[in-house]
């Protein structure tokens, strides 16, 4: 897994004519039927519709009967107390988990243009790969499992690293990056992927304030570019300031509306929650059942 210099890449290109058909065949067999395709930016943003979705482990669903609609181009925060099923819901949206019942319909996005940021613990950080190579993987759907990352991708990947504030880390192995820098790198890969639907699970957990601020700016950029963005968050301050829509989850949908409405005491009372205490110091939302 290396991205090589221009000479090597071009040499491979010249040889690619004969190998092209073999390559195409391999892709059909291995790449999950994926065809190499250029990433497009312009088309309409995707929308998601959930219909009675329950998911989780057998016998003990983490979420139950979740129904609703994420409209194209919206920016939604999923909030709720610990164990509310937020991550489960996000994994179901990302297709990483199958619902036990109900259905998720995604319009306007094939799996390759869904950018998912699961909780970062899943990634083996000791793996010897540079930040540049890691970010370039975002465009996997273009070169597939058997192609070489095209050399033309380089400026775009460098620009993405610049955007997330890692312009001088291109050649650094990912094991040498700090937690915050690695989170920046994950955002760079999402940028390179040109994802039209972005799903983030606690993207700012355990990250310093400066990194959070910079990455929130990236997120705002995605929203302004008309992409559909859904993020699981626990910092209610961020949600209030940045997210027009909020989905309050506690195994079921408690409220799903404009953020101000969702966080209003009336909504919470109507939903059977006696109070929602927002502790500004911890930035935590605590729900107390009535």
């Amino acid at each position: 897994m290396t991205m090589r210099g221009p000479h090597f890449t071009q040499a491979l290109r010249f040889g690619a004519g004969a190998a092209g058909s073999v390559n195409r065949m391999l892709r059909r067999v291995f790449d999950g039927g994926m065809r190499p395709q250029p990433a497009t930016d312009g088309s309409a943003a995707p929308s998601l519709t959930l219909d009675g979705v329950s998911a989780g482990y057998a016998g003990q669903p983490a979420i139950e009967q979740v129904s609703g609609h994420f409209a194209p181009g919206t920016l939604t925060a999923i909030i709720g107390p610990n164990g509310a099923g937020k991550s489960t819901l996000l994994n179901v949206l990302a297709g990483l988990m199958h619902p036990q019942s109900g259905s998720v319909r995604i319009e306007g996005a094939e799996p390759a243009s869904i950018g998912t940021l699961p909780q970062a613990t899943a990634i083996e950080r000791a793996y010897p790969i540079s930040a540049l190579e890691f970010a370039a993987l975002g465009r996997w759907r273009e070169f597939g499992a058997f192609g070489t990352p095209p050399y033309e991708l380089l400026p775009e990947v460098m620009a993405a690293l610049q955007t997330v504030g890692l312009p001088d880390k291109a050649t650094v192995p990912i094991s040498d990056l700090s937690v915050g820098q690695f989170r920046r790198l994950l955002f760079a890969r999402l940028i390179v992927q040109r994802a039209r639907l972005v799903l983030l699970d606690e993207p700012f957990a355990a990250v310093d304030a400066q990194t959070t601020e910079d990455l929130l700016a990236v997120l705002r950029g995605w929203h302004e570019a008309g992409r559909t963005v859904i993020a699981v968050l626990h910092d209610i301050g961020q949600v209030r300031d940045m997210f027009p829509l909020a989905l309050l989850l506690n195994r079921r949908v408690i409220a799903w509306d404009a953020t101000a409405t969702v966080l209003a005491p009336d909504t919470l009372a109507a939903a059977g929650m006696a109070s929602a205490r927002y502790d500004p110091r911890a930035g935590q939302l605590r729900l107390v059942p009535g």
Binding site: M1, T2, L26, V29, F30, D31, G32, M34, Y57, A94, G95, L96, E110, P111, A112, I114, T116, P118, A122, I123, E124, R125, A126, Y127, P128, I129, L137, W140, R141, G144, A145, F146, P173, S175, D176, L177, S178, V179, G180, Q193, A206, V207, D208
Partner: protein, 286 residues
């Protein structure tokens, strides 16, 4: 010196055959071992090597010491257990390695039982520990075939395997498969273990797969250099083990595995990453 190092291979045909067999195995085992370690699958490899045993034992019951029967039985049993293992891991919500341990013990027990049905204690020793020096031309051809298939397949799917190894969710999330690559990789692991089974037996076949790779990991973090080093270490351990077994009249398989272990010990002391390689690399704090 010459008598010590060259004479045995020069004079005796069986030593030459054994050497070629070990070299072929070392080539195939190097990338497989490195990838297994990178994916933290050394226990899985252990299980698969034992899984080969009941199949090979069935082959032995039917056809005696036939390379074809032993290998075919071994491959089928290995694939079956690989499938069972992934199913068991999926059903076990604890995400523990317990199902693997169950499969490992059951395979070993079933294998010993099957061999004892007809074979003698010598047959059992043969199945458990192998005999490098009794390898014939057919076994040699099989090893060469496995090495070729392994190296060519890995060359083709190296990138997705590597990516799937350190970020399994990424390929799944963008809908680019991942499961297929893992399946092919497991099949290659089984093939290599079956090829090694003739020489090292079911208990030691994992040795030449893992030990050179573990030693190589002490020297560098870069994956393809690890593969080259693991190949070199594998060859070195084979030569050293075979010579030791010739001069000191030791069983060859264990001698080669011990030589591999000694190489790891040396790497641990001498290599720059040595003492850190076996523990997870610490994440720099914020």
């Amino acid at each position: 010196m010459r008598a010590l190092l060259l004479e045995p291979f020069w004079t005796y045909g069986f030593m030459r055959t054994a050497l070629v067999a070990c070299l072929g195995l070392a080539l195939a085992n190097a990338p497989i071992g490195v990838l297994l370690l990178q994916r933290r699958m050394s226990l899985t490899a252990d299980v698969l090597s034992h899984a080969v045993m009941p199949g090979a034992a069935l082959g032995f019951l039917v056809a005696g010491y036939s390379v074809l029967a032993l290998s075919l039985g071994g491959i089928l049993a290995g694939v079956l257990v690989a499938l069972l293992a992934s199913a068991a891991m999926r059903f076990d919500t604890e995400r523990s390695e317990a199902p693997l341990a169950v499969l490992y013990l059951m395979s070993l027990a079933a294998g010993v039982l099957l061999v004892s049905l007809r074979g003698s204690n010598i047959d059992l020793m043969h199945v458990l520990f192998g005999t490098v020096l009794a390898i014939d031309t057919r076994a040699l051809v099989f090893i060469a075939l496995v090495a070729t298939v392994t190296l060519l397949s890995l060359a083709a799917i190296w990138r997705p395997l590597a990516v799937e190894g350190f970020d399994p969710l990424f390929l799944r999330a963008i809908g680019a498969g991942g499961t297929v690559f893992r399946g092919v990789f497991l099949l290659l692991v089984v093939l290599c273990l079956v090829a090694g089974f003739q020489a090292f037996g079911t208990l030691l076949a994992v040795g030449p797969v893992l030990l050179p790779a573990i030693a190589a990991r002490c020297w560098t973090r870069t994956l393809h250099i690890q593969v080259v080093l693991a190949g070199l270490f594998g060859v070195l351990a084979s030569v050293a083990g075979l010579l030791a077994s010739f001069h000191l009249n030791l069983p060859s398989g264990p001698a080669i595995v011990l030589a591999g272990g000694a190489l790891y010990g040396f790497s641990l002391m001498a290599a720059p990453l040595g003492r850190h390689a076996s523990i997870p690399i610490l994440q720099p704090a914020e």
